[in-house]
Symmetry: D2
Subunit: 336 residues, 4 copies
């Protein structure tokens, strides 16, 4: 199967990140083009990969015959036009949130795609792909905790630029928890209150940070969200779901922490493939990358020999019930 | 750059896992061949990928002109011959532990590779690639905790087959901590004691499980290891490193937990790329896989519209200091 | 100094608990009388202690010349009259919450005490005495986290009797967090919203459980509280305080968990008096209780001998660098 | 029942701590005398309590007719003589560890007590009274984890004085884990190895710190112990017990952490008496202490009024489904 040829529109922090992801870590895909109003930035990024074109006009990238699919990471105000172009060229597109800047223009995009009769647009609400959120969703859907009644969310950034105003905190930060609540509850939000507690003295004049939002869901359930984008600590995202029979929290750094029937805790993995699956992926990716450069990037044959020598002594210690010296040829004798 | 064409020798649990990894998750590599004494198993696995050959003879796979590099996941007793073949054909090889079955044959492999004048062999001590172990190594090497004096290790499997005898616990399980100790200390193990505490009543007659090993390192430091491969709980691997000025533990499910100067704790990530990096990788991999099938696998344009409608109401709530109803066109009106 | 002679009014669960506390665990105090409408219950409880009178009329207990101070643990509707009696007799009183059933009657109690010119009434908002809450208060007051902006509270009981109605959830449960917010912020609550999310299907018809309250403080800060008194799990009380420079959580079972400047974590105790202070208290209390009965309740001289024998062998092992057998006279030879 | 009159022998750090404990926190006991070679220190301490005598000669204190029971907190070399005196006067005694300085003298004490036909001596192995150790013991004895096979212990102090030599680390520190292993296993230690890993560079010349001890128990089980009394971090004491069906750890600051059948976790308390029992004890102790001085030390009537006012508004908010302003008389109008 031929690799999917991908073009990235907008190569600021997020877009550059996606470009590298496609180029170096995603299987079955190839980065072929990037586009940015700042052509120097686009050109410099393209050059780091080799065989990637920098294209001036994002619409040209979208229409290019050698681009199979598009990642949009441009500023939100540019999304409507670029999405429309993707639909016109029938190109699958992964669009960073927000879809567009307001509900009306978003609705027009939905309608245009619906007329095509084919889903081409995916929106970058990436929490659905985080293993912790995915496990929480699975747990809630299993019904083990009863119906979900409440969500408590925390969304904190260490700091944001002074240009990040109160409304952007809603549109660019809170929007993630809007999707989380809709997705976890499987219901729309019907009413929203965004409270304005006394703001931190460490943010710019007139910026309302933190904010405390309350969502009322179509099914009667509720969610609260603290958004605090200048919390000074670091990046903290947590979600606690409260069900009729128990509750579960993610974002504590311990996978899904559940509480039910007198116990709190988590899961011990079944086997090494769960615990070390990512380590195996990294091992192979780094080995493949190193082999492409004619080298290795990990434990060498000598390490295999040393381990064998220790295990041989270990088996003897076990059999004889005493400490055993490890016998090894000095490394310099073998490897010079 | 052309993808590295990889052949996998041995497609039991571990080998099949590696084959899928190469085929589906590793960028820059392509699975082209698998080999196994059980040709039915090899054939069935190859068929799941398409365009992958099942080759009878592992040495034929290793020598095949269309195989650039080899992953060896066959039983340990077959490694020596297969590694020798890799060296003869100058093929880079990632060999699952153990390198070979004893120190003497391992030494011969080391010497043969050394004669070639080029490192072709990497051994599958995969803990070095686990993000937690890697972070621990980095912390210890930074010197922040002073010199490392002691390691406490725990290595537990839920259960193993009854054929897994006392010596295999040393050679196949403890061997991981042998490498961990050598790697973290940067020193060889000079003496080993493997204690035999009273065995669990839940293991087969004559199997010594758990075992308690003590390593004495060339630099005078020490390590202890509990190996308990029928612990009934699940897969638990932990390592605590004790330095002159503090200590650090991994495997608790909370990344690196440190204790120093009156405090215990861990790190809050700097930004979303650290916390959600894996989520972004999964988002793109699943999007690429879905697009190849002509669909999407994630939040759709409608989800983008719904979020925009909620955020519009949220901004109004913030500005007007009151709850605001969310206005949305009913889904059925738009999408039918 | 003579022990304070205490009478307890109301010996339901809470009052019986307080009676036992005074009788057995509080130094400098003596339980002398209990009172309850159910004289059988009062009598039975008094009999378990010896030398404690059961008194029919709570006002008689309060007025009794041999009672120095009073603990009120009767139902809330009886508090106003009993508090008034305490004030009239100038008896110090510790009154379980609520002070009285409504704001108006509470205000009259405050005014009556104020007229006396002496504080005699303490209210049973016991969270202020919990070591975790006290440590949180100290941390917030230190200013290390900047000004406190938000509190997130969780207050859950496994279940409550069906007679516990929606209003009681506010008056008897939420009231604790009312005090916590006032105390931690050092400010009054000026506005309150109690939301009614969809109720759990496991509570009685018409009972609003859980509830989600939002407090707006006089200083502009805010607090939210989930109260869920039929959460099915157990008793969970948590409080997260969000400051301008960091945040701190209690109730996770790990003392105060803080997050600031890129780190999360807690405190490692300075020495054994912090870590084991409670163990020493319990050791001495149990020894005193046992000695009063002519026995001991802890490790005996034989345990001291056995430890000495092991340590003697341990010192030799350290000096000689080898395992050493422990030499002990068989227990039966010495103790028969 | 009359309070037990207690004398404390030796008022260094440990003895002074015990004296205060008896005087202020232990119910049913009264501190009547202290003794110390440094009479100034003894006198000063006695003076802080009032009505406590400072007695020059420890044997005089032990023999004093007004002393019912003795706490020995003198240096270990003085214990043998003082214990003998307690036995002669038939005084119950709680003796800090070690019982005596070596196995031989300890055995003589055991024999002397045995001849009396009555247990008068309790040894200060206080871990048995720590709620976490006690819960671990109860769990292991329940058989839920199967037979216990291994213990892993960690015992760390931040620093100790330079006079604390290698042998003292065994006799004064490791001795606690000697008792823990004997107590948890219910079996004697038959063989001990004390390993000497490379010492920390932060301890005095010639001091072996850390040490790594291995105990072999009469029942075949084993225990390892890291003792590191200059670990620089703080006071850390942990114990992990490994059973045939699961394992349990204490000392992580989260009570007993268990792992079994695919899950790790702990217990959510049944009710507030478990979670807040200590808070109630502290509330009453501080109230009693304050009342004795004619004051209160906790929330006042005003706090009860304020809470009532908020709850009244909260009930209305719940009933009317909207935010409600809290109505309170200004504090200054009532309290001036």
């Amino acid at each position: 199967m031929r690799d999917l040829r991908i073009g990235v529109v907008g190569v600021g922090m997020m877009g550059a990140d996606h470009a590298e992801r496609v180029a170096r870590r995603i299987s079955g895909a190839r980065l072929v083009a990037v586009s940015d109003p700042d052509m120097d930035r686009a050109g410099a990024l393209a050059a780091t990969f080799g065989d990637v074109r920098a294209i001036d006009d994002p619409l040209a990238l979208i229409g290019d015959a050698d681009v199979d699919a598009v990642v949009i990471a441009s500023p939100g105000f540019a999304h409507a036009e670029q999405l429309t172009a993707c639909l016109e060229h029938a190109k699958p597109v992964l669009c960073e949130k927000p879809l567009t800047m307001d509900a009306e223009s978003s609705l027009r995009v939905v309608e245009a795609e619906h007329k095509l009769g084919k889903q081409l647009i995916q929106v970058g609400f990436m929490r659905r792909f985080d293993p912790e959120y995915a496990a929480l969703k699975e747990l809630l859907d299993s019904g083990e905790l009863g119906r979900t009644l409440l969500l408590h969310n925390v969304h904190r950034n260490r700091t944001v630029p002074a240009t990040f105003r109160s409304e952007m905190i809603v549109r660019d930060s809170l929007v993630h928890e809007v999707d989380v609540a809709r997705w976890l509850f499987g219901a729309e939000i019907t009413r929203i209150t965004v409270h304005a507690p006394r703001p931190s003295g460490l943010v710019g004049e007139g910026v309302q940070d933190p904010q405390l939002a309350v969502f009322e869901m179509a099914n009667g359930a509720m969610a609260d969200v603290e958004v605090f984008v200048n919390c000074q600590v670091g990046y903290e995202v947590r979600c606690e779901a409260v069900g009729e029979k128990g509750n579960a929290t993610i974002g504590l750094g311990v996978d899904v922490l559940t509480r039910r029937a007198g116990h709190w805790g988590g899961v011990v993995p079944d086997d090494f493939r769960v615990r070390f699956g990512l380590a195996y992926d990294l091992e192979l990716q780094r080995w493949v990358d190193a082999v492409a450069k004619g080298t290795i990037d990990g434990p060498a044959a000598w390490d295999g020999y040393a381990a064998a020598a220790v295990c041989t002594a270990g088996v003897r210690s076990l059999q004889e019930g005493r400490p055993v010296e490890v016998e090894m040829v000095p490394r310099s004798e073998v490897l010079g």
